[in-house]
Amino acid sequence: MDNHSSSQSFWSKYVFSLDHKVIGIQYGLTSLGFLILGFSLVLLMRWQLAYPEQALPLIGKFFGNASMPDGVMLPEFYNSLGAMHGTIMIFLGVVPLGVGAFGNYLVPLQIGAPDMAFPKLNMASYWCFFVGGFVMLLGFAMPGGAANSGWTAYPPLSIVATSGQTVWLIGMVFLITSSLLGSINTIVTIVQLRAKGMTFMRMPTLVWTQLVTAFLLLMAFPPLEAAGVLQLMDRLAGTSFFMPEGLVLSGQILPYTGGGSVLLWQHLFWFLAHPEVYVLILPAMGIVSEVIANNTRKPLWGRKGMIYASVFLGFMSFIVWAHHMYLTGMGTVISAFFQATTMIISIPSVIILTSLLLSLWGGSIRFNTAMLFSLAFLPMFGIGGLTGLPLGLAAADVHLHDTYYVIGHFHYIVAPGTIFALFSGIYYWYPKITGRQMSETLGKWHFWPSLICMNCIFFPMLIQGLAGVSRRLYDGGATYELAKDVLYLNKVMSASAALLFVAQIPFIINVFTSFWRGKKASANHWDATTLEWAATSSPPLGHGNFEVIPEVFRDPYEYNPPNSDKEFLPQNFDLQNDKKRED
């Protein structure tokens, strides 16, 4: 890498860039694209759920006979859509946006580092992600369609599934490699490249949550890679790691020697996939705490408690995985253990949420779009978290398992929870990234309809689930007597989902038009205290970050400090030096 960005070619500056800011933006744009794609897939599913076996108007005829003959969706295609919606949203949308984009762009800036510790690995991480995403999409072109065994890929279904599943597994290997490179980079950067005076306890909450997240990715993903290798062997080499003996499919005994265990896959899978839940939520909590501290103009309440809680959350997340498996018959003793750990892990989440809520107390709140999204995060995440408690109890789970209640629960956490926090982050840091402001009017046109539609989609799911509607039904429960009273909700949810899609248009317009037409933003647009605001706005790409590496003198979020005439004290503001100058 050289010091003269002007001499860099277009390719090395914007495409194969080693600069963490460019890579962060690449991650951001790619994952936003995947979010729209994942959302479009679920819209197709929602049509089928609300109007089962009716032809999809307008675009239905473009899908072809293999998936939607005459515009009517086939059950196999519905299953593919479900599996790919989950995979795309989690592995290609939300995590790359929260960890890849925000982590990459903000962590070095917030700790006062010139770049990530390993710029080349950083680039490799993005391109592994890109290839992984591409391979995932290739699945749709395979005979038999994309993976259709759910994002959990449970055997034996996934072993006997069509070749889309093999492509899915290969895609996952790329994504796991990408996350491995990224997480090593994040941890080394945070531990090694902190600026002078930036002690661990002075790091902003976002950096802390990214650090914990990186540890989760580093340690939880490899067992899934191991499981993926075993599943590939089952599919390609005819082994029976996950296959029981004498399995019969369509009247024929499958040619597997048996001796495998389907539970083995579930254990290995959830060993990753439960920490993955915290990978989804922790960066969101980090973003929300930055935005709330800044817009209440006071320090975060219980900041250190929040940090300890996130670290504890990280450790605990490794020993709760089997609460996804109460109904597998793994035994009541194991269930009791995982039930206890699950109740324990709710404590740090409550600490974080309560601290954020109490931080609002007595603040002079600025209700800009970023803050609105962060404020909405609190009750939405609250609903998501509280509806999770009955699922964590083995007895209650007997009734609720595999119903729409589960879908409602985790979507409350991820969609109006995490994704709202990510929107908040985009509105908050946009002036830093581009040097221009986003439109507040369009922002509010984005926020309010999104908030209403989200609730109209996910709250009815809780109601349907309590009534006992299974989440796996291709017709949304139309053939089930017990679902009759809550069936009308399918239409409410589907209409709300379509409206939610429309509600994202102001956001897309806002992101693009503000880039060229937005009002210019100053370097410290929000009067914030953390180090990224000490760099110039829209920091030059292909360069270091700061003209002079800043030195840190105090905790983050020193808003309205007592015994000072300043409204806020940036972390790198030297009071002593300032006094001398005044004297």
Partner: protein
């Protein structure tokens, strides 16, 4: 632009970036093989009858391979010590020896695998052979990766020694740490697959 602590140690953590990074990488590798070892335990305890390693596998060949791999760990350490003393000739001999021993391991493994196929023992034959082929196969891939890196350091990568000897020494150290890990995995694979 220069990344701080790429070569020199950060005073308060006592590490440079590369050394910290490789240990994190190995932690994740540990979880990868840990997942497979757990799978092995679960499959074995859940099975009605688990064969003895000697029923299918060739213990003398594997013993030779264990000696070969341990020797290569010794030579890579000696190579690194020689480099620390700037004895380039001695370093290149010992480092080449490490690569050679790595290849000997692979050749022996090749004969082992082909003997299995010759007897019509495939991964699909039974779960013992399935886990044997999967775990040793993944281990072989790790050896191959390590050999590629070592060959790079020995030939095209060596010019770095003239430009920035400290950085080059750091890289050799990392390759040595990784090589030891691959060795260690074998030390666990050998008893659980062949002996127990």
């Amino acid at each position: 632009m220069k990344i701080p602590f790429a070569v020199e140690e950060r005073p308060d953590t006592g590490l440079n970036n590369g050394r910290f990074g490789i240990w994190l990488f190995l932690a994740s590798e540990l979880m990868l093989f840990g997942g497979l070892f757990s799978a092995y335990i679960l499959l074995r305890t859940g099975s009605s009858g688990w064969p003895k390693g000697a029923d299918f596998l060739n213990i003398p060949l594997a013993t030779v391979n264990t000696v070969v791999l341990i020797s290569s760990s010794v030579t890579i350490i000696l190579a690194w010590i020689a480099l620390q003393m700037n004895n380039v000739k001695r370093f290149r001999i010992l480092y080449s020896l490490t690569i050679l021993l790595g290849f000997i391991f692979l050749i022996i493994k090749y004969f082992e695998y082909s003997a299995k196929f010759h007897h019509h023992y495939y991964p699909s034959t039974n779960t013992f052979l399935a886990i044997y082929f999967t775990m040793t196969g993944l281990h072989v891939l790790h050896i191959l990766g390590g050999l590629l890196v070592n060959i790079y350091h020995l030939f095209p990568g060596f010019k770095l020694y003239k430009e920035d000897p400290e950085k080059y020494k750091g890289r050799i150290e990392l390759s040595g740490i990784y090589w030891h890990f691959v060795d260690l995995v074998w030390i666990f694979l050998f008893p659980i697959l062949y002996l127990l």
